[in-house]
Symmetry: C2
């Protein structure tokens, strides 16, 4: 009936057995006779005993919790991230602590504080400083999610640079465009930094001079609108806008359409992520699909194994493949002529 305030010792007393036996029954460990097991189970059932999480955690020296640290940005990307992470954590009976560091200057400390409450942490790339990451790593298993940390900290990420180079090459070669603008802040996240690098690589492979500067904005739709404002107002609008993610691209698209431009005739726009909306807008976005869910799931898995095997060496960093998705916003006709897998 009642439920919470009942302890092992009470159950032991009520069932006329020792606490050790109660513990054994409730965990299914060790050997217990049928008779004892019955008595204990009856008492547990009758008084609604549930072992206290803290007591158990203290004894096991394990919190049964994983931490996820991210900047706190909105959008489908982070939703997928969280869900992918949970999809691994929940079956492992680990709860998920989150920390949005967004706009807080003391985030390094807060992450360290979090580390004392969880068994392992996944940190989204670019969220905290490298020194903090290292300190964190000597407290609990850590993995950098979408990005890279110091050499010794494992990470899971995607092949951003090659993928973005592939996309950019498509615009430069297949569509013969030359004047491309890159929208996104390379200093803001490792992902964007790598994409910006890939973007410039594509130019250099063709012996062309890449743009010197990106249009530095954050990663959400409103930032795309802002970027469109900057790019499309005044004289020199580019032929194409290569965006660091789909959300920015959607924002740019809205901004362009709102100015009466036709896409892709007057302006080519591309994204990155293949968010759900990418296929639904008019025109549908040419973009790069990345396995966000898998990424986060992989991170959680990696942490969980590191937690279970405290001795083992840090797991390797892994890089997941992406897929180039050609749709119409780049100027290709409805069915993709050059579509296929990236890299």
């Amino acid at each position: 009936m009642g439920n919470s305030r009942v302890t092992v010792r009470e159950i032991a007393r009520l069932a006329g057995v020792s606490v050790a036996t109660v513990s054994r029954v409730s965990n299914g460990t060790g050997q217990v006779s049928e008779e004892m097991r019955r008595r204990v189970l009856d008492a547990i059932e009758k008084y609604g005993y549930r072992p206290d999480h803290l007591g158990r955690a203290l004894a096991a020296r394990r919190h049964g919790a994983l931490g996820l640290v991210f900047p706190g940005l909105s959008g489908p990307y982070f939703t997928e991230l969280i869900q992918g992470f949970e999809s691994e954590a929940v079956p492992a009976r680990a709860s998920v602590h989150i920390l949005c560091t967004h706009l807080r200057e003391d985030s390094d400390d807060q992450v360290l504080e979090m580390a004392r409450r969880v068994d392992g942490v996944a940190v989204v790339g670019g969220t905290i400083s490298d020194p903090a990451l290292l300190r964190l790593a000597e407290m609990v298993p850590v993995v950098v999610l979408a990005g890279r940390g110091p050499e010794t900290v494992p990470s899971v990420s995607v092949d951003n640079a090659p993928a973005m180079a592939r996309l950019t090459r498509h615009l430069l070669v297949d569509h013969g465009l030359r004047d491309l603008a890159f929208v996104g802040n390379p200093d803001g996240s490792p992902d964007v930094s790598e994409r910006w690098a890939g973007f410039r690589d594509a130019y250099r492979e063709l012996d062309l001079d890449p743009p010197a500067e990106p249009v530095r904005v954050a990663m959400q739709q409103p930032d795309g609108v802002l970027a469109a404002e900057r790019l499309l107002t005044g004289g020199a609008a580019p032929q194409a806008v290569v965006c660091a993610n789909d959300e920015i691209a959607l924002g740019v698209l809205v901004g362009a359409l709102g100015r009466g431009l036709r896409v892709p005739e007057d302006l080519v726009i591309t994204g990155f992520d293949d968010a759900p909306m990418a296929a639904l807008v008019a025109p549908p976005l040419t973009t790069v699909r990345q396995p966000i869910r898998d990424l986060a799931a992989e991170a959680a898995r990696s942490i969980l194994t590191a937690v279970d095997a405290p001795g083992a060496a840090a797991p390797d960093s892994i890089v997941l493949p992406t897929e180039f998705v050609v749709r119409r916003s780049c100027g290709c006709p409805a069915e993709s002529p050059t579509g296929g897998t990236g890299k």
Copy 2:
């Protein structure tokens, strides 16, 4: 130097004092002579002692953590929610556990499981069953966030129905429209349910017959695109689409624009939330601003006080006001003629 594996008893031994004194110093409780305090602080500093969270939590019978349960939907709404919640939790030194129940059928159990690891829980309305909510409430302080639960469970929400009635009245009376479609699934969340009710109320106040059925879709941009497809394909397109939130509205807008419709000339569209994008699209969205951050912060505050005062009666439910925001998607000219505060 080193950091984690050092305990009170070690510090006590090293400093030549008792564990009680170490505990007193490290917590600043009780009376300790200057001499002792020095010795202990030196040892703490030297060996990098940080009290273990589990030990402390067990002794205090308090987890120092709050739970936040939501369906796992994407979008600016939930981001604001999380950040508002954290803005109260973090200063109170409580970490935040999250649980996305999205698409999982065993969510009731998982919520109950979470309750054993936190001091209190905020549940987004419509996420778990009422019986589960009641069971939850007898374990820890609970508040329903954006919605209502059973009578005995406090909630924080906004004045959805009056706000939506106000907006609908604007379309019916000020713009003389009659054929409105409501997009959103009233069964999916209490918020939508109340908005749908407010929508119909506006009709009835004017002795008009409201639409019998809403267009039932989920709450994200792609769902809005889907709704646009259903509404605008075939003969009978409505004069206006009243959306349960801004994201749906944005989706509908994209769908409408993609079909060559002019907004608001050919089709009026309204939203709810006043998300950042609402003001940035062309045309800007007429919508209802709700204080999402405050809502979540209020929920966290309410739980924290309930945790601190275990005896006290459950706090009252509170309803925060919204604000009607008139922009151009309803057909109003650039400057709002009837703007102002709602209700």
